[in-house]
């Protein structure tokens, strides 16, 4: 019993160390985060141009535009999260350390989660201003939907980036692999957000939220199981 607890504590320390390392690198340079956030806002502005100045049209399209902006900006973050290790050749030593490999994935996942979470907060606030969306009454549920969507996005993004970043043509490969996989997350998050901000009376958020939860659980488990195979090769 104490051995199990000991092992759990070791794993948790490893996860924290990886996440802390990634976040520290990011915090010290800041260049990556600023660029990604700027890109997210730029995409929102471009969506504004594409959809025209009509306030009602903009409001209806806001959840879709928002999620796509986060998706496109986030893709850059995922490849970046392995880039530092690859450039310095630090991935092999990292793998040589004793202990479970999945902790590396969980650590990176947590770091990316925080990164994309901050990105999401800024893009959502910018989006609400640009697309004239009022704060809905059900705002706690909206935050839950944002969090659930972000978990799905970051889980698969971090997982696929572990392959794409180490291949030729990583810029193309990651979106090509990731975007079709994210169709359920994007649909669910967009529809649920739309229902909650009252853009479409026909929609209901409950079923979509359940789908997001199911998706997140399935893919957090599946990616953790598959990571061992992927990182070794």
């Amino acid at each position: 019993m104490t051995r199990v607890r000991q092992q759990g504590g070791d794993n948790w320390r490893r996860i924290r160390a990886i996440a802390w390392k990634d976040l520290t690198t990011e915090r010290r340079s800041k260049a990556g985060f600023n660029a990604v956030v700027s890109l997210g806002i730029t995409i929102l502005v471009l969506f504004g141009f594409a959809l025209g100045p009509d306030a009602q049209v903009l409001r209806d399209a806001a959840p879709g535009a928002l999620w796509l902006a986060v998706l496109f900006a986030g893709v850059l973050a995922f490849n970046r999260s392995y880039q530092v290790e690859l450039d310095t050749g630090a991935l092999e030593p990292l793998l040589l350390y004793p202990g479970a490999r999945w902790t590396i994935f969980t650590g990176k996942l947590l770091a990316n989660m925080l990164f994309v979470g901050l990105l999401l907060v800024i893009v959502v606030i910018a989006g609400m201003v640009l697309f004239a969306v009022k704060v809905p009454d059900a705002w706690p549920t909206v935050i839950a939907v944002l969090a659930l969507g972000a978990i799905g996005l970051v889980t698969l993004g971090t997982f696929y980036a572990s392959m794409a970043s180490r291949s030729r043509a990583r810029e193309v490969l990651l979106p090509l692999l990731l975007f079709p996989m994210l169709v359920p997350v994007l649909l669910a998050a967009m529809q649920a957000s739309k229902a909650l901000i009252g853009a479409d009376m026909m929609l209901e958020a409950g079923a979509w939220i359940k789908m997001l939860i199911a998706y997140d659980i399935i893919f957090v488990l599946a990616t953790h199981l598959a990571f061992e195979h992927v990182i070794e090769a």
């Binding site: 291949s167 490969l173 692999l177 359920p184 529809q191 079923a207 599946a222 990616t223 070794e232």
Partner: protein, 237 residues
């Protein structure tokens, strides 16, 4: 360390009687198409347009089979690590992508005169398109990685995750549509049409088996050649 450069390091499958099987499949397909078209009367609403049923529905059936095969072989590869499972998964994915593409194109050809549009964001169409994109991603990943071991591990992971996602995509797209509009009800099928369809299911299954087998042979030969040249480069014979 000198590795022996013999091609016996990897067993290359023999073609055997598979070419004969191919000719038989071709003859059977010609027969089953002829049978289906000859025995089915023109549909009351669709007329002769109905005949596309005999290539469209079997093609979508092959699409489901190949996706299941990719899932099973990918899992087997991750579990056992045998090269042949990796190459079988890849061959299935190649054949699958072809048939998904065919299904989509045939559906469009049918949809244009029936619905008046080439494309509609119907649940079934949309999820098939997403499926096609997942297949394309899998094949692109394989194309971008040179090292066989790595290619096998990665594409197996992508194959398994992609397959897990299929039912979720299907459900999400269906909800997305049905929360807005009613789905069209499937027509009940007359037995005069059913026999033609069943015989074509069989014909297409034979075709898929043949294609996967021959692609697999080709992939094994390519792998053996790769290993031989690698061993030679490392100073073998």
């Amino acid at each position: 360390m000198t590795a022996p450069a013999s091609s016996s390091a990897i067993p290359v499958p023999k073609a055997g009687s598979w070419p004969l099987f191919g000719w038989f499949t071709l003859a059977f397909m010609v027969f089953s198409q002829w049978y289906a078209i000859a025995t089915s009367p023109a549909d009351r609403d669709m007329g002769d347009l109905q005949k596309i049923l005999y290539v469209h529905v079997p093609a979508s059936w092959i699409m489901s089979i190949t996706f299941a095969l990719v899932f099973v072989y990918s899992l087997l590869y991750l579990w056992k690590g045998k090269d042949s499972y990796d190459l079988l998964a890849a061959s299935s994915a190649e054949v699958g992508a072809t048939f998904v593409g065919l299904t989509l194109v045939q559906g469009m050809i049918w949809g244009k005169p029936t619905w008046g549009v080439w494309w509609t964001w119907d649940a079934r169409l949309t999820s098939t398109l997403v499926l096609f994109l997942v297949f394309v991603g899998y094949l692109a990943l394989r194309a971008f990685i040179d090292e066989p071991q790595r290619r096998g591990q990665w594409s197996a992971a992508v194959g398994v995750l992609g397959s897990i996602n299929v039912p979720i995509v299907w459900m999400s797209v269906r909800w997305w549509r049905t929360l807005h509009q009613m789905q069209s009800t499937p027509q009940t099928m007359d037995p005069t049409y059913r026999n033609g369809l069943l015989i074509n299911f069989l014909a297409f299954t034979l075709l898929a088996v043949y294609l996967i087998r021959r692609r697999y042979e080709a992939a094994m030969i390519a792998r053996a050649a790769e290993m031989t040249s690698q061993a030679a480069a490392l100073g073998g014979h």
